[in-house]
Symmetry: C2
Subunit: 159 residues, 2 copies
């Protein structure tokens, strides 16, 4: 824990506070910092933007990556007012920041009816028909051919 | 499996094909359908938009939700050229479509170096210090107070 962590976390929490004051929007805020400068910040926009992916972390990652014009957040710290949900965890691993700092826990979130546990349980199901949303497989040679064509490209951008 | 599934999956695969033909972009496409009409579609935009969250599914969900002006995809089917990664799975559970149909599997994706297994393993770690990206907790009464304030609002939009 660093002294600057408290300052940037305060900004993330203020975003969550302002979001509920602005309307009926959800109480989550996120700030992304590189070299002590805020390069991305957002509050939850699910109900204000009608976008189920617009969690504070996803929005702040998009904001920071636009500023850096890079699809990786190397050396950055993500400050989020609440422990990230599975979608945002996945996004964070895709963005590869140096570290993540959070305030409220997923238990705190469950107590106000934002319960991620259901999604964690669904992700563990290897029998896809047992999921609450059915996931059905179509075998397609065309889809596989696209993968092979991509693998054989010389100028592709690797991850 | 329905007859229309093959038609819409073909469109998703075509998006993935066009994406690699357009540049050095990644081979994934997604189409979202409601009442036999395509209401959202995208190919992977990570390297073209410099946005690590711009997987085909996330982009198509945003597109469809904008068209419907709703943060839920009730009654929709998501056709994706490849089995969704953990981030996109989380997004799909947030969007709540009726079903998901995919072509290439995560094993096919791993074979061309898009390996999700690492993220699945990280998500399972309950000791957050064992994660490759450190997740650190700051206890904050202010953050908890925002949650309580939201819970007590009468006009909030529930999930």
């Amino acid at each position: 824990m660093k002294n600057s962590d408290t300052i940037f976390m305060k900004q993330a929490i203020e975003l969550s506070q302002k979001n509920i004051e602005s309307g009926r929007w959800w109480p989550f805020g996120c700030v992304i910092v590189k070299d002590w400068v805020v390069i991305g910040q957002w509050a939850n926009g699910v109900t204000s933007l009608n976008d189920p992916t617009a969690h504070a972390e996803i929005q702040a990652i998009r904001d920071a990556c636009t500023k850096l014009w890079d699809f990786q957040l190397q050396g950055c710290t993500i400050y989020t007012s609440c422990e990230p949900c599975p979608m945002c965890l996945g996004a964070i691993y895709r963005a590869r920041p140096a570290r993540v700092v959070y305030a409220n826990t997923k238990t705190d979130a469950a107590a106000i009816d934002f319960d991620d546990d259901f999604i964690y349980q669904e992700l563990k199901l290897t029998d896809y028909w047992a999921r609450s949303i059915p996931f059905e497989h179509i075998h397609s040679q065309e889809a596989l051919d696209v993968f092979v064509a991509w693998k054989e490209k010389d100028d592709k951008i690797e991850y």
